[in-house]
């Protein structure tokens, strides 16, 4: 299997590459459109700021390539948020594969922002290796709209879509590459998924 990780320059690309390596898959980190189109699986990563990431995708003429992917693809954290139409972060237009706007989380007395740490899933997704009561690792200040695509959910003063599916896309707001055994099961399920 060929697994391509979209090279955004900045971001947690190594930690994702290392997580797939632990599952026995050597990922190629690339910004080449042909390599992305030829891959069996594509990962859109993201630690980073949305403005930087979208600018990178446009500079490299990759936005259309990513929109047109037909293979199973996985967005992680910012990579999930970029699938929506717009984001509050830098108020920019994103890829627009899923309707809705990504919004900034608002801090409260017992809810510091970013939402950072391990939260339990209130809605699990057993088909993706996520069981009820699993804790997964989040680190985000912006959250996707909770809609029809949501398949797993956490709560942080409001429902936080933790994972979604739409067409050939999976996406996770949490970091499966840093979510212990639950995260590894999720990545394995993505590798095995046949749409």
């Amino acid at each position: 299997m060929t697994l391509a990780i979209v090279d955004l320059d900045y971001g947690n690309i190594a930690s994702i590459r290392h997580a797939f390596a632990r599952l026995g898959v050597d990922a190629e980190v690339t910004a080449d459109a042909d390599a992305l189109r030829a891959a069996d699986r594509v990962v859109l990563p993201g630690v980073g700021a949305a403005g930087h990431a979208m600018a990178r995708l446009r500079e490299r003429d990759l936005a259309d390539t990513i929109r047109a992917l037909e293979c199973p693809a996985l967005g992680i954290c910012l990579g999930m948020q970029l699938l929506f139409e717009r984001t509050d972060e830098n108020d920019i237009e994103c890829l627009g594969l899923i309707p809705g706007r990504v919004r900034a989380l608002q801090p409260a007395a017992t809810r510091p922002i970013p939402h950072m740490g391990w939260s339990a899933l209130s809605l699990p997704d057993p088909a993706a290796g996520l069981a009820a009561g699993d804790y997964v690792y989040f680190a985000h200040s912006f959250a996707c709209p909770d809609g029809e695509a949501t398949v797993a959910r956490a709560d942080y003063g409001e429902p936080i879509p933790a994972a979604l599916r739409q067409g050939n896309w999976w996406a996770a707001q949490f970091h499966p590459e840093r979510s212990g055994a639950a995260g590894a099961r999720y990545l394995q399920a993505f590798l095995e998924w046949q749409p």
């Binding site: 190594a14 930690s15 997580a19 700021a49 970013p114 950072m116 979510s179």
Partner: protein
């Protein structure tokens, strides 16, 4: 709040894990990857690595061991020490770290925080602060990795943390210096005022000696509690600690 985090802190000096008392007299406690693997397996929620020689000596953190750690563990980790520009932070993240933590270099040039947050997002940028109680309140110290060079930075801790988080730091590690390695409890009074002063998660550091100290830190608003001595010396086992916290009604990751 998410589950409260238990965070072993690994001080790194010349490629080995070391531990001192009140930032002096460092002794060797082992190999970096072996320690990271052990803590991850025992249920640590996150790790912090401080390259304690990097900042005072004016050099940057070495990235080879970061990549070795990232390959083997599946929990998040932050790296601190000598990160004074975007290029260094990028190298640290590219090696597989999840967050960068800045302390002395941010005091020398606060704009560093803005630059890091713009490039990587606030969730990636930790502000570490070494705080000491003095006449007129808690004040910030810098270059604390080297007793010969460390001095007071000329700022009140609360003022500095308000500024640092306004500039984009997404987490605070509050290290109370007189508590470091002493094991008589976190400085909960100071912790509480810092939690009230900022809207980002605050990690307590310095003073953990018993399970009840972790409990107290969480009851005073800490999102995580960092410790070194009690874990390195195996005085507290992380599974036992989590059991104790759960029994006292504090949410932790089982």
């Amino acid at each position: 709040m998410p589950a409260r985090r238990i965070i072993p802190c690994l001080d790194v000096k010349d490629g080995r894990v070391v531990k001192g008392v009140q930032f002096r007299d460092h002794r060797d406690v082992g190999d970096i990857v072996e320690n990271a693997t052990r803590y991850s397996a025992e249920g640590a929620d996150e790790l912090v690595f401080y390259d304690i020689t990097a900042s005072p000596e004016g050099r940057s953190v070495d990235t080879a061991w970061i990549e070795r750690v990232s390959r083997v563990i599946d929990i998040p980790f932050a790296v601190a020490g000598g990160i004074r520009d975007l290029a260094t932070a990028e190298a640290v993240l590219e090696a597989g770290a999840d967050k960068v933590s800045v302390n002395s270099p941010a005091l020398a040039r606060p704009e560093l925080i803005d630059e890091l947050a713009a490039a990587f997002g606030a969730q990636c940028v930790v502000i570490g602060v070494d705080s000491m109680r003095e006449e007129g309140g808690y004040r910030v110290w810098r270059n604390t990795g080297d007793p010969e060079r460390s001095d007071e930075a000329g700022r009140l801790t609360l003022d500095w943390l308000r500024e640092a988080t306004r500039r984009g730091a997404g987490e605070v590690v509050l290290n109370c210096m007189r508590k470091d390695g002493v094991r008589d409890g976190y400085d909960c009074e100071h912790l509480q005022e810092v939690v009230a002063a900022v809207t980002v998660p605050v990690i307590a550091s310095g003073g953990a000696g018993a399970p009840r100290h972790f409990r107290e830190a969480f009851e005073h608003g800490a999102s995580g509690a960092l410790a070194a001595t009690v874990f390195h010396d195996r005085l507290i086992a992380i599974p036992d600690l989590k059991q104790d916290l759960l029994a006292n009604g504090i949410e932790v990751r089982p």
